[in-house]
Amino acid sequence: MTTDHREAAPPVTPGGAAPRRKDPGRRPSEPADPKAAKRAARRSRRYRWDIRYSPYAFILPFFLFFAAFGLFPLLYTGWASLHQVSLSRPNEMEWVGFDNYTRLWDDEFFWNALQNTFTIGVISTVPQLLMALGLAHLLNYKLRGSMLYRVAILTPYATSVAAAALVFAMLYGRDYGMINWALGLVGIDNIDWQSGTWTSQFAVSSIVIWRWTGYNTLIYLAAMQSIPNDLYESASLDGASRWQQFRHITLPSLRPTILFTIVVSTIGATQLFGEPMLFGGGGAEGGASGQYQTLGLYLYEMGWFNRHLGRASAIAWTMFLLLIVIGLVYWVLSRWVGRSSGEED
């Protein structure tokens, strides 16, 4: 695209009947008549434009779609969050300023949802990433049929959240669930998983862990395989054990990857919605006393069940701002960790 061979190598037309070029030695930069010079200038201008602007045209579709389905909803939600809007009449907005935000401060249900989101996020993300790291380390060894394991470990990720959550809801059933049946075999009475705060949050977390561990494992595995082998070789020559190799070679090399998975998991945990909703049988209340209602569920309940679109939008934007704050904290942390470990070296 960036080179033009037209002048340099005139193609032979079939039949060879085309007239010969009058002056083959002339360059476009030294034209004979002003008309040709103009044409040449126009042409070269077009090529410059082509080179400079066509890439934008090629990525334009993405930005058009992003503007329509990403940016516009984001801005519109922000606009709606400053109004009192009913879902029944979304076109009639009444300006209320930042009321919808300030009222969240006194909203016990918001804080409950925030706390649930945090605890479910921690008890799902931390074990999940630790397990993924361990599994990736194991899969990184030369194993017979390693491809099979890798595919198997990614299967939960390919399962739809609805299917997974429904199966788990059945497993955690109070009277007829398999988990309570198994516990019954060792003499433990039926647990009402859904009614308890910790039991229900544990159950929801287990769905998240089951679905996402494989995904993170593969990301870690990919990163591990890009670590040069000679590092391990020289380390083992120096007498480093497997564990020492893992701690001093694998982990430091994985640092950017780990940070990436932590960021992605945090975003996922903050927006957690499908798992708790389906675990509760499709309602947005997240348990009779909201014991596993996440921010996503509260937002949905506020907008689509209570029909307060403005308040729901404010919750949505608060979640968005929360994620930005978390992102900044991670960024600062990663720089700090990077610098301090850099000094160590």
Partner: protein, 439 residues
């Protein structure tokens, strides 16, 4: 050679133009998809679209085909959205934008108050049409679809008159009568329903609960009152309502006397409890629940269930159809809506789909009145539900009734399954409703 160069350049330009063009077409078609298209054909043919949710039944019962045969110049197309929640979200958006609406739209009873209050002006008033005669509907059904200004915005399709469903084999084992007449006589009021329950749990099969859930009982009791969550003036009155406080007390009592299976209705666990026969009665068992029980309990439950008169029969569920003002063929749509909800068609929907008619006239047609249910031991459900329907109170309903009932149900689950005290559960109901109902 020159030609070749030009050809190549134009080719390249054409490719570029094509890329741009495709992008443009995509963008334009995207926009076009949002705007509605006209259904008019040139030869006087009219296409009417009907928007429904789930398996609404009109198409399944062959009503569209029959209408199209009677009216050759009309073509009917149906758009069905599987989930009611998705359907109502879409309907609200389209009513707000006044576009994309079908000529006839179905409205579930849970949303009818929202339509008669906030969105009434988006619907045509059936009273203005001389060819619509709403007098054959049950009065309460007409009342539910009438807005504060007296405009009738929906015609009733089906209703859900309630009885009490019970397991005959368990009743027999507990030494209770099994004949519906005698069982109905046992349940003189809800207090005696609970007393029989206590007797049942003492004498009956081991580990079988009397009823499924506290919220289910609450729903059964509160629905029998004239005033529930909203008064005739449209104000939210759940905190002062006699019906709510009586029903709450009874549900709490049932829970405290250990008569419930601590279920939550319409969950997977609840369905499995029905299949496993974990409880003996449904305190509110509308006509459509018979189908749900049969589906969950399967062949093994055949002939085990029966239905007896409720202490206070009431209505649970049912739908309407309305004609949006934005429609192009409002007159034709009104005509079709009136035909679809006419007694003969309602009777046919009952025979084919089991939807109990909201038309009092249809209820008296022989194919409805003489209907029996083979799964329920050939119970004369036609007679039974027509008697129950006659006792349905005409309660005012408000746009927030669903939110209120849902919160109260959660409060009862807190008592029933989480061991919360009734006082603190009620407090949490009120505080959650204060939050949910605040604008």
């Amino acid at each position: 050679m020159r030609n070749e160069a030009i050809a190549r350049r134009t080719h390249r330009r054409r490719t570029r133009a094509l890329t741009m063009g495709v992008t443009g077409v995509l963008a334009v078609s995207l926009l076009a998809a949002c705007s509605s298209d006209s259904d008019d054909d040139s030869d006087g043919q009219i296409t009417l679209r009907v928007g429904v949710f789930g398996q609404f039944g009109f198409e399944e019962a062959g009503l569209y085909d029959e209408y199209m045969e009677l009216n050759p110049d009309i073509t009917i197309e149906q758009d069905s959205v599987t989930e009611l929640a998705d359907y109502i979200a879409q309907l609200r958006t389209r009513l707000g934008q006044n576009s994309g609406l079908a000529d006839i739209q179905a409205i579930e009873v849970g949303n009818i108050a929202e339509m008669t209050n906030e969105l009434s002006d988006a619907w045509v008033d059936f009273n203005e049409y001389e060819n619509v005669d709403p007098s054959h509907f049950m009065p309460f059904k007409v009342g539910q679809a009438t807005d504060p200004d007296g405009r009738l915005i929906g015609l009733g399709t089906d209703i859900g008159p309630t009885g009490v469903c019970y397991r005959t084999d368990y009743f027999e084992a507990a030494g209770l009568p099994t004949d519906p007449e005698e069982v109905g006589a046992l349940f003189a009021d809800w207090e005696s329903y609970l007393d029989v329950g206590e007797q049942f749990q003492a004498d009956g099969p081991e580990g079988i609960s009397w009823t499924d859930s506290a919220p289910g009982l609450f729903n059964a009791v509160v629905s029998g009152y004239e005033e529930r969550y909203t008064n005739a003036a449209g104000e939210t009155v759940y905190q002062e309502s006699q019906g709510v406080s009586d029903a709450w007390d009874l549900a709490v009592e049932a829970s405290e006397r250990g008569l419930t299976n601590q279920q939550q209705q319409f969950t997977d666990d609840w369905n499995r409890a029905i299949a496993n026969g974990a409880f003996a009665t449904f305190s509110a068992c509308p006509s459509w629940m018979l189908g749900h029980i049969a589906a969950q309990a399967g062949d093994e439950g055949q002939g085990l269930w029966n239905v007896a008169a409720s202490p206070t029969p009431s209505n649970w569920g049912g739908s309407f159809i309305g004609v949006p003002e934005a429609g192009e063929h409002r007159d034709a749509a009104v005509e079709l809506a009136a035909w679809l909800t006419a007694p003969e068609q309602q009777a046919r929907l009952f025979s084919e789909r089991g939807s109990y008619p909201s038309s009092a006239e249809a209820q008296q047609l022989p194919e409805v009145l003489n209907a029996t249910n083979p799964y329920f031991g050939d119970a004369p459900i036609g007679q039974f539900f027509s008697a129950a329907a006659a006792e349905i109170p005409s309660s005012p309903i408000g746009p927030n009734d669903q939110v209120i009932q849902d919160s109260i149900s959660q409060g009862l689950v807190q008592i029933d399954a989480q061991g919360e005290s009734p006082e603190s559960a009620w407090e949490s109901v009120v505080s959650s409703l204060d939050n949910a109902l605040a604008e």
